[in-house]
Symmetry: D3
Subunit: 301 residues, 6 copies
Amino acid sequence: MFAHNKRLQYTVRVSDTNPGLANLLLEQFGGPQGELAAACRYFTQALAEEDPGRKDMLMDIATEELSHLEVIGTLVAMLNRSAKGRLAEGVDTEAEMYRQISGGGNDSHVTQVLYGGGPALINSAGQLWNAGYIDSIGDPSADLRSNIAAEARAKIIYERLINCTDDPGVKEALGFLMTREIAHQQSFEKALYSMQPNFPPGKLPGMPEFTNVYFNMSQGDGDMRGPWNSDENFEYREAQPAVDGGDGLASVRMKADDQQVLQQAATRLRSDPDCDPLTGAELGAGEALDASTMGQKDLLG
Amino acid sequence: MFAHNKRLQYTVRVSDTNPGLANLLLEQFGGPQGELAAACRYFTQALAEEDPGRKDMLMDIATEELSHLEVIGTLVAMLNRSAKGRLAEGVDTEAEMYRQISGGGNDSHVTQVLYGGGPALINSAGQLWNAGYIDSIGDPSADLRSNIAAEARAKIIYERLINCTDDPGVKEALGFLMTREIAHQQSFEKALYSMQPNFPPGKLPGMPEFTNVYFNMSQGDGDMRGPWNSDENFEYREAQPAVDGGDGLASVRMKADDQQVLQQAATRLRSDPDCDPLTGAELGAGEALDASTMGQKDLLG
Amino acid sequence: MFAHNKRLQYTVRVSDTNPGLANLLLEQFGGPQGELAAACRYFTQALAEEDPGRKDMLMDIATEELSHLEVIGTLVAMLNRSAKGRLAEGVDTEAEMYRQISGGGNDSHVTQVLYGGGPALINSAGQLWNAGYIDSIGDPSADLRSNIAAEARAKIIYERLINCTDDPGVKEALGFLMTREIAHQQSFEKALYSMQPNFPPGKLPGMPEFTNVYFNMSQGDGDMRGPWNSDENFEYREAQPAVDGGDGLASVRMKADDQQVLQQAATRLRSDPDCDPLTGAELGAGEALDASTMGQKDLLG
Amino acid sequence: MFAHNKRLQYTVRVSDTNPGLANLLLEQFGGPQGELAAACRYFTQALAEEDPGRKDMLMDIATEELSHLEVIGTLVAMLNRSAKGRLAEGVDTEAEMYRQISGGGNDSHVTQVLYGGGPALINSAGQLWNAGYIDSIGDPSADLRSNIAAEARAKIIYERLINCTDDPGVKEALGFLMTREIAHQQSFEKALYSMQPNFPPGKLPGMPEFTNVYFNMSQGDGDMRGPWNSDENFEYREAQPAVDGGDGLASVRMKADDQQVLQQAATRLRSDPDCDPLTGAELGAGEALDASTMGQKDLLG
Amino acid sequence: MFAHNKRLQYTVRVSDTNPGLANLLLEQFGGPQGELAAACRYFTQALAEEDPGRKDMLMDIATEELSHLEVIGTLVAMLNRSAKGRLAEGVDTEAEMYRQISGGGNDSHVTQVLYGGGPALINSAGQLWNAGYIDSIGDPSADLRSNIAAEARAKIIYERLINCTDDPGVKEALGFLMTREIAHQQSFEKALYSMQPNFPPGKLPGMPEFTNVYFNMSQGDGDMRGPWNSDENFEYREAQPAVDGGDGLASVRMKADDQQVLQQAATRLRSDPDCDPLTGAELGAGEALDASTMGQKDLLG
Amino acid sequence: MFAHNKRLQYTVRVSDTNPGLANLLLEQFGGPQGELAAACRYFTQALAEEDPGRKDMLMDIATEELSHLEVIGTLVAMLNRSAKGRLAEGVDTEAEMYRQISGGGNDSHVTQVLYGGGPALINSAGQLWNAGYIDSIGDPSADLRSNIAAEARAKIIYERLINCTDDPGVKEALGFLMTREIAHQQSFEKALYSMQPNFPPGKLPGMPEFTNVYFNMSQGDGDMRGPWNSDENFEYREAQPAVDGGDGLASVRMKADDQQVLQQAATRLRSDPDCDPLTGAELGAGEALDASTMGQKDLLG
């Protein structure tokens, strides 16, 4: 069960309202690398987790991410407070209001007109949050790696936002949130590597003849060798079809009846390679043909 | 700040695992009327709320909805526990596994194959949750009504789910969740009506000549009168264009230069009403015309 | 069956073209609170409605909303008429065109480049309309409340747009559309309350011990009492897990075989709490280890 | 302005309720090739159309598609009428209700549980309708082709549905709807070809050296020649990079300062090709390393 | 199997970095009419195609579209190269960075903050690409028409982008990409018309009495006649319900038991047309009523 | 530039057609962990990559993933070949066709009715692919981790699919695809760790006082200690608000004028905690009040 304490995990002190900056911060509220995605990722994993240690850790961190969602959402709300009141009360002239709404240089008009200055679960471009951002699949050797990657991504987005604001209070709160991603990544790493073996993920082994092969599929000046395709670690092979030694074709056994029906469809829908038909594009490239007067019905047989 | 207590708000006792039922319950986990949508709706409203009473209430209820999300997600996890293990370990023959995965009669195959038996933020058809489900707009006279409606919808979905299961533990937990929607609706109602006036929403009054008009736009046998369009409450008028008394047309002042450019585009893109052109459909309805041998180039002149 | 009259329900007189304002108005064309969502909401409800009075009312209002969609879409089209022609004909220098396309201060570049100046079913941020905006669930005690809330939201968005334009013709048309939301809300209210009882929604009663409880889930300075949680109306309780009196835990009966398979999976995927593994993060924080020369294979055993 | 006549464009006579069939029919209600997409496509085009003939035609057909949306939606509603009542009233045992909800063999459970038996703007898999289905771009030489294609697609989907039902009333209504797609396609074809020239679309000509070239990008057994790549119509060329005669590389002029900053980033983020680092995968493939006891800190420098 | 050559199909020479232009170009990278949609459209069709000529052609063109995706994506990457480095390294003051990020006049802030200057599969408004953009349905008489239309649309979008930039290298590369859409359209046209007959699509014929009817559904000043609804080509009829000669109503046979249950639901959920209930809106329009002191319980009795 | 070889990378030999299995395999064609997502992820990263080694590797693997997309799509096409023909030709009775379409036990009806048996960019539940599945952010220390995680996820999904089919040809092809994910993961790992340091990601350091803290946010029986929160690695702290030592509240400096406007809005929208208003729910719980006869106007003041 969740409980809420009215004090934030980190104190929020905003120097000046700024709807444009509020809009940028939405990236970490309702964006793909934001706190809602993080909280949902770990919370859903925790619910189905059988390992008691990971379950505890996942719920600890999910709960903290919810608390971060509150911090970043509060930053957005504070930055929008002036704009929210002015639009609700309609105290400005319409021309001035239009200028304020449209002049932010980014999508802050959406936060104002559609969401009334409240933090919305969109990213900084107005894209609705969707659960496709969450990549949990219910296997810890994959999910922990997904969590590690997600923390790394979130750290970078916070860093970029920090580079875009000189409001010291906003900067400090963003710095705290960024720091916690580093801490969380370390916990997920420890959890992953305390599960042994964790590579390859899952139970089924790979086919030995292809597990350590590197295919050079992109060719030309710029081919490089490094540990990711070195002879020490991989068998380096040129791109080649039918690596199984077969013909590289696709086949399926079909019942005779199905085969016949399929053939019937193929015949009905055949494009004849031996004709040169007049096309719509050709009709469209020339002058209009008047079907009624130019005897086209004959042409059409 | 949020904190989490490892005990659920309501004890979950599931009689038997059942992936098909788990899949149905996803409707209230990651569906449009589910608990994530509820929690997000109230939480985002709370962040931007200026009224201390409503802010407190919204955060109270948001936090409870998060706790409900945990209960419904736990139900899903419990119902999937057997299937989760069997697929992960691959202990069944492939044919048997295929039958189990595909035989649920609903979309439970997605929960198994894609999500490994964990609760996912999808509805029972596999539709990803998206923030378009949240209708908060940052004005309490609208948002409270949205919340009232959302609670009513969630109550009904729970009722339908309860009608679909005879597992007593599932039924009881669903009953609790359903009941709480009733309680929350009552709180939102009290908050709405303690804001006076709350109708019409917002500050701007309507145009008096249209505020109490009912237009009979759908006509024929079946026209009904009732309090929603009665003479006591409304001026009942037949459908009519240009109710403003104008010509019902659209106009815009354009600069002469713009007007000329637009006219140029219109001329270039004109469909000539006075020709009867040969069309692609006509070509396609007849026999193939061979452009190279039938002198079509001339026709296209 | 629908029929269309070429005259608009309300005459549209736009003073000057303005792609930026056109873009803002998209909010009520293809946005979540816009006229397409309204029309679809009531139309789909009408189709399945068994009550003759509500069915008539829903179709009346759905049809009017379609007519409003036409009005708002016509406003958008008029405001974009100059820009549409100039881009289609390419009469400006590229630098000037780029400036016009990008300089609107909001997302009007999308309307121009992607939609050619036509009204598109997106909101003012370019977010595609989706049917998740429609919250109909096929129960009138819920759907009528959803409709009431939707009308309240639409009224507010119109009010905000009105606050952003000083074009008298645009203002007047928006005022008409805003006014009709007030009228529609009143009809839906009458329809809801002429259905008795309509609360709680549905047939199943709540569990009496939880129907009038208010849980104080968010605690600290800022706790408030009001009619939404007053002793007169509610039993006010502090947050508490396991309100059913159980242990707050989750359980499910599983077949012994399933239990064993699940245990097997848990063992395979266990994170050992008693080790302190070297992690990828630690590798990444230090200098590169060269596996081939530093005997790491031994370390990895 | 739209008006509604309570009589359908085509009489709907359903023999027996059938939620599974209802679910399939959703494909033409809320699916990508369905009637809402058609109505929205033509309606939005009509609003911005400058050509009076096309504007009239587009609004005629848009209005008819709305009327078709009503027909297909009414079919869905009729097919769901029994299920709707039984679930709302809860008259069956839970086990029987679960069987009915889940046993349809397709996604009809969503229509029941989430939408209460009403027609919803989803396709037969429960995917929410979205405006990405609409491909209008505001140029008639493109939009009319899009409309032609859309009518062809809708015709095929109706044909498939007709092949799946033996209910004579459903079959007949679907047959009418399918027929009208044929009629509409013919109108759009006439409108396209009465605009001359209509190919290539737009104003800018292609680069002559590439306008009639066909590149054989997919090579091997199966290469075919036909009018689509014949020497009569095209210059047939093998796949080749840098067809402009350049080096096929990408370049951009950057300010020296920008160049230096970019180089700084590249250096910071360089993957060294000359090392062979120990990786997380290697850690995960072996036994757990205990950092505290095995002196790894030294290894990590 | 695909292979990649490190040289582009067309050399990319960008004069100056320009994040705003990069953002516009995203329209053809991750937008609905862009190259990913094109490649996916033809590739998925090719996989299931039975006709050897079309299969070859579809794969040829799909592969070229992938190569175009690389060209347009490379343009975006080049245009963003300066911005990418500066944000990653944080070399500017925060105020300067904020100005750069927000000042582009369009949505380039998303490309910078969320995607780090890399080309992302979004359109120029930040809308995520989704597979609803792809309209393939597995019937060549429809799919080829869809392809023709798609090429026409893509040609127009390129033309608009060309009109917005004076960078000669960008202009030239866009010109090549635009040209190839013309070539592809011609191939698809030839393939369509070499399939005879291709109209009407599919196997089932239309109902003769409705195949050549044009309904005048939109009425009033502005009704136009042209080849799309002329007497030569169509039977021109006024809008009329129940064109089948029936009553225009909907009916379904239901079992007596189902009928009774449905009636029970209807009765339970009836809106009484003969009352005039007090509504929430009326409560909200007046002063707050205090239920505890004003005896409302009796009123509600 | 891409080129295509008509032979597959791996030969596809399917024993029997099976639309239900085809539908499951869509998970790796158009699902979130599927090959399109993989190809797009690496391809978009490659385009903006400055490091020559990573750029080469990313393009190599992107190209191979496209080749895998072809293999999995070909499997789907083969498994659907019989069904495709039968539906297109309509050779079965309608009842039989309905049974075949609906009886697959999963969502294969969508593949048939909507996509005509062709592979579509949806997952096994019919959810449209969207670019939110791609988590690239343009920083290699994050993107390489995302790639590692993505390969791990894909490996697991393949493993689950292999567990669900006993068709030896399908199993073998899936086995190849699964194996390659293992190989790719190893390459990405080598690339990550050859970039030193790669942790923490980005340039900005964390705040030292919070970088190694673990907050126990979820409390109760089940709290566990392990390397992810051990004293050796972390400072273990109980959940606590305002960890910065402040008051945990949010503040913003506002101009006096803005403050006054905001106060005005708050007053206008205040919910009075001291009244007990009659609510809509109370109206709905009792009998209908007749406003016209019961003097409610007085009550409403």
